[in-house]
Symmetry: C2
Subunit: 353 residues, 2 copies
Amino acid sequence: MDPRIEEHAKILVDWSTDVKKGEMVAIVASPLSHDLAVAVTRKVAEAGGQPMTLMSSEEINRAFYDGADDDILATEPAHMRALIEKCDAFIFIRSPMNTKALANVNPKRMMMVNKANQEISAIRLAKKWCLTVHPCLTLAQQANMSMDEYQDFVYGATLVDWKEESKNLFLMKEHLERHSDIRFVGPETDLYAKTEGRIWIASDGKHNMPSGEVFTAPIEDTVEGKIYFDIPFLQMGKVIEGVRLTFEKGEVVDFSAEKSEDALKTVIETDEGSRRLGEMAIGTNRGIKQYTLNMLFDEKIGDTIHCALGRAYKDNNGTNDSAVHVDMIKTMIEGEIIAGDEVIYSKGKYFYE
Amino acid sequence: MDPRIEEHAKILVDWSTDVKKGEMVAIVASPLSHDLAVAVTRKVAEAGGQPMTLMSSEEINRAFYDGADDDILATEPAHMRALIEKCDAFIFIRSPMNTKALANVNPKRMMMVNKANQEISAIRLAKKWCLTVHPCLTLAQQANMSMDEYQDFVYGATLVDWKEESKNLFLMKEHLERHSDIRFVGPETDLYAKTEGRIWIASDGKHNMPSGEVFTAPIEDTVEGKIYFDIPFLQMGKVIEGVRLTFEKGEVVDFSAEKSEDALKTVIETDEGSRRLGEMAIGTNRGIKQYTLNMLFDEKIGDTIHCALGRAYKDNNGTNDSAVHVDMIKTMIEGEIIAGDEVIYSKGKYFYE
């Protein structure tokens, strides 16, 4: 086995979910994640935990939609709930076989399943959990890379000294929380928001692997200025690129996109909350050297910031509500991040460097 | 998708486990069983059940042994128990990736895991369950066939009119239970046993798919005579072939094998129970036209009988106890099966034909 798979597993078990003796662990894997599931199983057992593996795939999910009546979709799966309640930690390994398998499922039916599983999700989120990927051909193609290149990319992003990285991220959180506002400045960009009473979260690999970001929910109505997001992103199967937004009193008053402006318009016009930001964040993972249209990675790219239109996280003390949460990323290598009177980042350097 | 996969799934859900609205169903699949897991998921949903899929593989099992200390092996997995308790039906799909992955695990450690899972197994066996295979390259090679040939083989054995087959099997059970003994006669073979008070079970696809056998546990000490098993079988990785056994007062008093006689000797000398029969059975599935060294199929071959040295099934009212249960098969196309004064089978014809 590629020794990097073993290292990846070690990080997931020892760092991300910190499995202890006697703990019950569920590994959720696609058939293409089998090798990492094997390695994680071994590490969980070494840590004294009890591993079990669930199989997940887009085609299995699709088959459920195709076979089930609405009342079946709307039913909470009691066996899944019983399992989740007894688990201490969850490791989700994404290696999609077919990212388009659910493309033609009625979104209302998907909402039914989400709703039926809402309590189960809440129980799970209150425990230890981590989401990661295992390299597969599907993701390599989405990233425009060979399998070899994609493996190097994934392990470059994940096989990081997370203890050290965590120290820097928590230092940044501490500094950001000394101040009551945040400002992103750069080419075609000067965006300001107040953050008083909001929490900055240091994402150091406990829930996302890879990770490397510090994020908060701005006070909605205080967002002012304009921003240019240069990194493309996927939204409902479309690549949106070159987004420009202008905010007044927290609301988008002007917008454009170099590609798929229609899709951006649909996002912004979803509801009241989708015209406002739910997240402002700083990406710090220099192991991620390019975007791959996979938000788990792209929003963590080092020397970037990102903002999300729509729903804020409760953990940030965020209040913006929306049916959407759409992240958009900007390279900051020529920019600055300023909190109060402190320069957090300037042209390739974080304050702690 | 191969329409035979859909048919196979339909049989598993509608016939074998007879899934009803509101039932919780666990599908246990290897990565190589994914396509059948998809089809079964759809059928379970159509029947109104809630499907979920667990991933099982020999390499995952092996990784658990490699990582776990003995006290971890000896611990009942509480999350698995909670899941099993909430399930109404189980569909196990075997598509091994590596049948040798556990070859070098200490059998004592495997016994620890079996023991830790004993109650869970009992709970599961008391519910609806069925074991099947999905064609894969591993099994095709074991069967000495191309993948195409192996698919034809599997679907020839499973896509059967089970309602009709069931009628014949239960008719045979009824006739066998009218009598108090059973006799297998054929080339180099005349084996007799009393069966009074023992139950003949008609295996009509509810627990094994494919199925097609009627089996009982003979009264141990009444087995008399000799038998020649012409069909090879796998035991602990070795192919044993051409077994001849002679019984007196239920005990093996003479034995030989044309191939791997040592392995046969090891089986017979395991314990007191391994010198006696735990099962005598009649195979009826004419869809299975050749042996493939896979007992799930081989013991069901039409126009055969089989006997097992060792442990009897409680469901047969069997009492023979042993650490082993080793099935051996004999072609009966030139033989006869006689119960009391009734000819159950003679040279290619069952009594009901």
